[in-house]
């Protein structure tokens, strides 16, 4: 991922100084979102970093996998950082925040339990914002070749000669 850097150039300590933790595992600074331990950072050009952080959280809440790190969710929603999506994302995140405020929280990112965030999402499941997010994530998250090994999926096999000599029938437990 080109724009998701492992905070090369500046030290993690430097990066951490420049940002503010906004939710479980996420931090924002001027023009970027990062992991709260600064193992990765992603620049945003059009969408406000705090909104991007909300999108990343929303992506995880839609397709939660405990063994998939935030940076892959960030990569999956990165495409929304565009001129044409900007307004739609601002409206969508405002709706998420309003729903959170209705439950007494400052914003979506401050809702502590996944279950409660999911209730908020269920409430907007039919909205085009939710449907666009979910639809895009199906490929944005699961069609990322870097994500496949996390699920054990081996991808392309032709160049390795298929599985004829690489365990197509190696099951031992049946």
């Amino acid at each position: 991922m080109e724009t998701i850097t492992s905070s090369k150039g500046i030290s993690r300590r430097e990066l951490l100084k420049r940002c503010m933790v906004v939710g479980a595992g996420l931090a924002v600074g001027t023009g970027f979102v990062a992991g709260s331990t600064a193992t990765w950072a992603m620049e945003t050009k059009y969408v406000a970093p705090k909104e991007m952080a909300a999108l990343i959280q929303m992506a995880r809440d839609i397709y939660p996998h405990n063994h998939v790190a935030d940076q892959y969710y960030a990569a999956a929603v990165k495409g929304f950082d565009s001129e044409e999506s900007k307004a739609r994302i601002a409206d969508g995140v405002a709706a998420l925040d309003a729903a959170a405020q209705g439950r007494g929280y400052a914003d979506y990112l401050s809702v502590p339990w996944e279950l409660e965030r999911v209730e908020i999402l269920r409430g907007m499941e039919q909205s085009s914002f939710f449907q666009t997010m979910r639809g895009n994530l199906v490929t944005g998250l699961y069609n990322n070749k870097e994500v496949w090994p996390l699920f054990g999926y081996e991808g392309e096999s032709y160049s390795k000669g298929g599985y004829i000599n690489r365990g197509f029938d190696d099951i031992t437990w049946v």
């Binding site: 939660p64 490929t139 699961y142 069609n143 496949w148 991808g155 032709y158 599985y163 197509f168």
Partner: protein
């Protein structure tokens, strides 16, 4: 050498589409010395172009022109613009297909007689029976190199198959094996044996699987009697004052239109495009479309009762390794109304890669219920359920005048409602499929809904009487003697077996008939 024919050559047979039906017919006619122009909407993609990548391949060769859907089937909600998953390329859907090649059973040609009156179903006996097709099944099996025929050994079972087989045998099923597959289990016909790559649906990069793209088409071209024109999208079939067809209008890759004259036209664009083309060819003489005096063009659309079951185990399966459709259980394909439905179905192993699994396991699903399933992807086994669905007059392809394709022609709308028999069969099949996996210790099973249709059938059906269908027992339209239908849209009913072996057999038989009639100068 590939032939080259003039647009004004009115002695040629024009075949529309180069898939299972069109590719076979083109080659068979060319082998007999008959000149053929095969017009194919898609490009020419060969094994070196195929991608071991589900979405990459989908974008490369799928038919993605505008289509709409209606009806109570779930596909209309989840994939409203994609009723069917079929190919636009030389070779048609035989690039994607898995290779399962089964003969129909005797009773499946006579469903009206055997099943009796099924409310709401437009059942009809085929005008031919098994015995008439048997010699052609034998030719098709030899041509395609089907395993367990012609002395060709079965394929070895992969991990997905071993789980499936063990469960099925525990349940007491007897007809359990690695299938009759048009996939080389050993080198044959200049093509290698299967290397267990596992991307059969994305085109076999080794060419071990039979596909019209690299068997029928080049063999036909080698005769000097076949010219295949890729990127030639047929828009309309033309006719003269006597009502005989005279040629076809098509658009090339630049959108330029050409008129290819013809002595005979054979339509093989698969069961959505074939009736659409007949409907789009309406004229003042045939205001309801060509060959449509019965009003049956586009009706009786069938897609097989389909569904899947995925099972999760406490240990790895890695179902994606090796042949996608690696085995079958055939015990339930009998007709036995005591199960609560007429007709039967097959269990066939199936696997999807992670990207397609995410899209198709439970379309629209999200949250932990969904993601914990994918967390177990490595420990999953999968099977497809495919059975006979009921033809219904109201399940049909119509022209949607509100939506136009890239040539400005009305897009096809695909309307489908499940028949109660389809639902009863699916529920039973889901239950039995889950039992197969439960028998070998599944910790969770998923009754997965139908994917966009891969088997599209019945929309120009064969009938003895002109008023009941569109074509006669040779696939010749009842109304226009020099207009033929050569794909799965001819099927009177769908049977429980995968359709392609029957499509190929019918095409071989049709080629014999066309050659005979041309020689006798009756067409």
């Amino acid at each position: 050498m590939s032939a080259k024919f003039d647009l004004n050559d009115d002695g040629v047979v024009v075949v529309i589409g180069s898939g299972a039906g069109g590719g076979t017919l083109s080659n068979e006619l060319a082998q007999k010395g008959i000149n053929v122009v095969c017009l194919e909407a898609g490009g020419r993609h060969l094994p070196q172009d195929y991608q071991n990548d589900e979405w990459g391949s989908f974008g490369q060769i799928s038919w993605l022109d505008a289509r709409t859907t209606s009806g109570d089937w779930r596909v209309a909600k989840d994939f409203s613009g994609l009723p069917a998953w079929i190919v636009k390329a030389v070779g048609g859907s035989t690039v994607h297909w898995a290779g399962a090649s089964l003969r129909f059973q005797e009773h499946e040609f006579k469903t009206q007689t055997v099943y009796g009156n099924v409310h709401g179903a437009n059942l009809l006996d085929w005008p031919i029976g098994l015995s008439e097709l048997e010699p052609y099944y034998a030719k098709a099996e030899a041509k395609m190199g089907v395993t367990r025929t012609n002395g060709i050994p079965g394929l070895p079972g992969n991990n997905n198959y071993k789980v499936f087989e063990a469960g099925a045998k525990k349940l007491g099923y007897k007809k359990v094996h690695t299938g009759n597959m048009a996939i080389n289990s050993q080198p044959r016909d200049g093509r290698p044996g299967c290397q267990q790559v596992g991307f059969c649906f994305q085109g076999c990069k080794f060419g071990a699987k039979w596909s019209s793209a690299y068997t029928e088409i080049p063999k036909g071209e080698a005769t000097g009697h076949l010219e295949v024109r890729p990127n030639a999208h047929v828009l309309k079939i033309e006719h003269d004052k006597s009502g005989k067809v005279t040629g076809v209008l098509y658009a090339d890759s630049d959108g330029n239109k050409h008129l290819q004259k013809a002595r005979i036209v054979a339509v093989a664009g698969n069961s959505i495009e074939s009736p659409r083309l007949l409907l789009n060819s309406a004229s003042s003489m045939f205001p309801d479309g060509l060959a449509n005096s019965s009003g049956q063009v586009g009706r009786n659309y069938m897609r097989h009762m389909t569904a899947s079951v995925y099972g999760v185990f406490d240990k790895p399966v890695r179902m994606w390794r090796g042949t996608t459709m690696a085995g079958i259980v055939q015990d339930e394909s009998r007709h036995d109304p005591s199960r609560g439905f007429v007709g039967g179905f097959e269990f066939e192993t199936l696997s999807l890669g992670l990207p397609f699994m995410a899209a198709f396991l439970n379309p629209g699903g999200w949250g932990r219920e969904f993601t914990t399933a994918l967390d177990s992807y490595e420990n999953m086994a999968g099977m497809w359920l495919v059975g006979e669905d009921m033809p219904q007059e109201t399940n049909r392809i119509t022209l949607n005048h509100d939506v136009k394709d890239q040539y400005g022609l009305p897009a096809p709308n695909v309307h489908f409602d499940d028949h109660p028999n389809d639902i009863a069969m699916r529920n039973y099949a889901w239950k039995k499929g889950a039992e197969i996996y439960d028998a070998v210790g599944a910790t969770r099973t998923f009754p997965t809904p139908p994917y966009p249709s891969t088997h599209n059938l019945g929309t120009n059906r064969m009938s003895a009487k002109a008023r009941d269908g569109v074509v006669n027992k040779w696939g010749q339209t009842h109304d226009i003697p020099n207009l033929f239908v050569s794909d799965g849209s001819q099927f009177t009913t769908g049977a429980s077996e995968n359709p392609t072996l029957t499509i190929v057999s019918l095409a071989i038989r049709q080629a014999d008939y066309i050659a005979r009639e041309m020689a006798a100068r009756t067409i």
